[in-house]
Symmetry: C2
Subunit: 325 residues, 2 copies
């Protein structure tokens, strides 16, 4: 129905179409027409509505121009195969299915919209149409299973550096891989891995970047904690350019990691981190844990000094800043 | 065709059936009948052949009696759900499919025969009908991803202890999880894991035990390196009893591990190991590595003293004993 409606508007560019006309053409009520137009608005279509004249389509959501992106990429493998979708449930799910069919390293799965985007700890990830970069990259790293956390940090470093270079916004990394600007989240990274004993079979690196969302694009309950590059920069950011830069930065760091190990990535992560030298706490299955974050170790774990002065390591979890009392 | 042939023999127990009779009943040549009987022999059926009388079925392969096994199990979760198959490609594949449909912890997938059993490093695992225990257990351990190698060692410990208790055979563990008797392999363990960041989603513990195979059941190329409990004990071993004991031992150690951590498992592993205090070597992507195995560390890695006296850690690979030169 949405598609039929869009087709009519596209065949009548610059013309006003009345709710009456549309309801006759599509064989539904005027209320139904209004509901469809509202839904299209949420997907990034802009309509002008004038009483007694009807609706006119002003603009369509920007779509990623994949051939153009491909021609600009200077990577060797990352993004050399691109699977582009208008809509998927989750790019990680699509990537998981693809890797079983033999999807090669560097294959990029990208969608204009995710209907069931997934974040860490089983959370949902809000991925409205045309407003962000919702993607997953298939990786087949030549590292043992227990080094997987390195990749989690590596992806965050690549994205943070890309955003800083391209927008000059003060993005920082909250351990392990949340990207924040002024304390608000602008991206989510979710790595899924599959291994046979210590041999890593593949990693799906899911990356969601809130590029051009406006405050009203967010569900109310997350407006206070989420932001976008456009909100922070005060202007729209070119998604294609961001994607090209990110893939290049990521491939470059991935090569450095395979050649030189985790040490250089660790240095970059620490320099971009907003998690260190701060009081931190987290909810664990054993209850609330607190301490003072002093660094990360060679495995990527957060080193936390406890009240009694002893050092402990946190391997996973969602940290919050500040002491609880 | 095999099934029709079996049905005829079952309807005529103790009787000789001539190739002529059978070929008429089944509408095929006598050569075809002979080929089918040979195939059934390979699957564990025993036929007597007397010239001019024909064939008589002496015995059928023993099948696992699942209701009986269930009634004897005293575990809480391990083996409480059993999926039993006459034949699968690989029990790990079946388990992987099942876990996606919500298979719960402790679910056991077991088959009389695997047509494409998988071993470590992409090797095949020979799993003829009715002669072994070919199984996979779904685990959902409450540990971070980087502790997965602990489970690999834990499964080997549980199986080694079970075999020693039940058969008094001198089974030992070759790092990380091969079980040997007198230097020959009697079982294979293959753990496949799936994780979301540091959060382990599930582990499929594939275990193959060569119980009642005879020398002629093995392909020629592995006869020198593989053995079975029956070959070593000089008599058949009851598969059901072995399965029940193994599941109980495994659940018991799994609980100990969740309650007390890796330390007690490490002690048991070291006591059962045949890999320590020996010259070892392994092929790695970087070439041949050699040294002297002195222990395992808290992550389960093998600690190896190199020629210059320095210690290094091996995280994966297939070790061989003895220096290369």
């Amino acid at each position: 129905m949405d598609e039929q409606l869009l087709q009519i508007f596209e065949e009548n560019t610059d013309k006003f179409l009345s709710g009456e006309q549309l309801s006759v053409k599509l064989g539904c009520s005027r209320t139904a027409i209004w509901k469809h137009i509202e839904r299209l608005r949420q997907e990034g279509y802009v309509f002008e509505a004038v009483s007694r004249k009807g609706y006119r389509m002003i603009s369509k959501p920007e779509k990623l121009d994949i051939p153009n992106i491909s021609s600009r990429l200077t990577t060797e493998t990352f993004g050399r195969h691109i699977r582009y979708f208008d809509e998927v449930d989750s790019t990680n799910n699509t990537a998981n299915a693809l890797v079983k069919e033999g999807g090669v390293e560097g294959t990029l799965i990208i969608a204009e919209k995710q209907t069931a985007g997934r974040g860490r700890m089983g959370r949902q990830w809000h991925s409205p149409k045309g407003k962000g970069l919702w993607m997953s990259l298939i990786l087949k790293p030549r590292i043992p299973l227990h080094f997987t956390p390195h990749l989690t940090l590596l992806v965050a470093v690549a994205l943070c550096r890309t955003i800083r270079q391209l927008t000059q916004l003060p993005a920082g990394i909250k351990w392990p891989n949340d990207l924040l600007i002024d304390g608000k989240k602008i991206s989510g990274i979710l790595l899924e891995s599959s291994a046979e004993e210590e041999k890593l079979h593949h990693v799906i690196a899911g990356v969601g970047i809130s590029v051009n969302l406006q405050a009203e694009d967010y569900p109310e309950e997350i407006r206070g904690i989420a932001t976008s590059l456009a909100i922070e920069a005060g202007k729209e950011v070119n998604r294609s350019e961001l994607l090209v830069h990110f893939l290049q930065e990521l491939e470059s760091l991935y090569k450095v990691y395979h050649e030189q190990g985790f040490a250089p990535i660790k240095l970059l992560w620490e320099a971009l981190s907003v998690s260190l030298n701060k009081a931190v706490r987290t909810q664990s299955p054993q209850g609330l844990k607190e301490g003072f974050a002093v660094g990360i170790d060679d495995s990527g774990a957060l080193i936390v000094r406890q009240e009694d002065g002893s050092l402990t390591k946190w391997y996973s979890g969602n940290i919050e800043f500040g002491a609880s009392s």
